[in-house]
Amino acid sequence: METKKYTNPYLAGVGLGLVMLIAFWITGLGLGASGAMMRTVVAVEKAVAPDHVNENFYLKKYGGEDKNPFEHWLIFEILGVFAGGIISGAFAGRIKKETNKGPQISNRKRWIFAFIGGGFFGFGARLARGCTSSVALCGGATMVVGSWITMIAIFAGAYMAAWFVRKLWI
């Protein structure tokens, strides 16, 4: 199947914005993503070492005592994101087993850096209390001072680091 062109970014942006507005109007909670991943981590830790979870002030919030870390809207939302990605990808013929990377490196190298990049991002996301979806999109739209600051920091960090890792992509 021929890959279709991507949707005009402005239209996609409006679509995304509308989804966010609907979320706010119906639930008042906006969107998110990193929280779902954190909860997955806590759920695994809780299964393996529940006492440790109870003793850690941060982990406790997600899965301490009788709290089920998966009983949270983020989990359902992220499952929806997965489904939505499949649907759009299917329509556009973009469901393809591949690795996106720059021409100068191998797949394996890309995978290693993907893991490293993910590690940084995961850590940073919890430190800043959110990722681009929750902080930048929702915090941006609700005009939260801290969120705008974090958003600027994300772009700044990325642009600065980009020079050093340019071989990965171009």
Binding site: Y6, T7, P9, A12, L16, L18, V19, A23, F24, W25, I26, M37, V41, V42, N56, F57, F76, E77, G80, F82, A83, G85, S88, G89, I95, T99, N100, N107, W111, A114, F115, G117, G118, G119, F120, F121, G122, F123, A125, R126, L127, A128, R129, V135, C138, G139, G140, A141, T142, M143, V144, V145, G146, S147, A153, A156, A158, A161, L168, W169
Partner: protein, 197 residues
């Protein structure tokens, strides 16, 4: 009907979970539509060759700002009941910078990596595993810098209108103008440096 409906209509938690599944579908759908399942396309932002991320993100924010401002004005939504992210200055800055590094190196952010996974991108899997690992490390180490994690607390609902005394509409206007200027700039940059898809 005033929103957020979940509170004014006292909607049951489980139904909210279900609603969020569908909201997620919309979220993932538009992310993929914009091409955010492709890590290279995302990373090219930072080389000024493809500014889709900027365009999509800021269009979404502008849509949200305009929408919320008008809804608030018409009384369709009660801003006091909307979730507002807490503002902690120092962890917000440092965390943001670290996220930026992660974005440039990994090429994804959590939401887009799930979309990547959905479209069978192998690097997305590694990114997700890395994210989980990074968050695990955070959880284990945060007690050591608990003080830093809570430093610079500007407030739990510290919105720009509270900080500056301007109304939502006035700040929104500024955001719209900045975004529009940004879009003009982005188009020019893409013409100059961009790659044809």
């Amino acid at each position: 009907m005033t929103g957020p409906l979940s509170i004014t209509l006292n909607i049951n938690d489980n139904i909210i979970f279900l609603i969020y599944f569908f909201i997620g579908i919309g979220f993932g759908f538009f992310l993929e539509r914009g091409g955010f399942g492709n890590s290279r396309k995302l990373a090219l932002q930072f080389y000024l060759r493809d500014l889709t991320v900027f365009k999509v993100m800021f269009t979404a924010i502008v849509t949200g700002v305009i929408g919320l401002t008008f809804m608030d004005s018409f009384g369709w939504i009660d801003m006091d009941l909307i979730y507002i992210n807490p503002s902690y200055l120092w962890p917000g800055i440092v965390g943001g910078l670290i996220m930026g590094v992660g974005f440039a190196v990994g090429g994804y952010c959590p939401g887009t990596s799930v979309v990547g996974l959905a479209t069978l991108k192998q690097d997305a899997i590694f990114y997700i595993l890395g994210s989980l690992f990074g968050m695990f490390i955070f959880g284990e180490t945060v007690p050591m810098f608990k003080k830093f994690f809570y430093s610079g607390h500007l407030g739990d609902r510290f919105v720009i209108s509270k900080a500056t005394g301007m109304t939502m509409g006035q700040i929104g206007f500024i955001i719209v103008i900045v975004a529009l200027l940004g879009f003009v700039g982005a188009e020019k940059l893409e013409k100059k440096f961009g790659e044809k898809e």
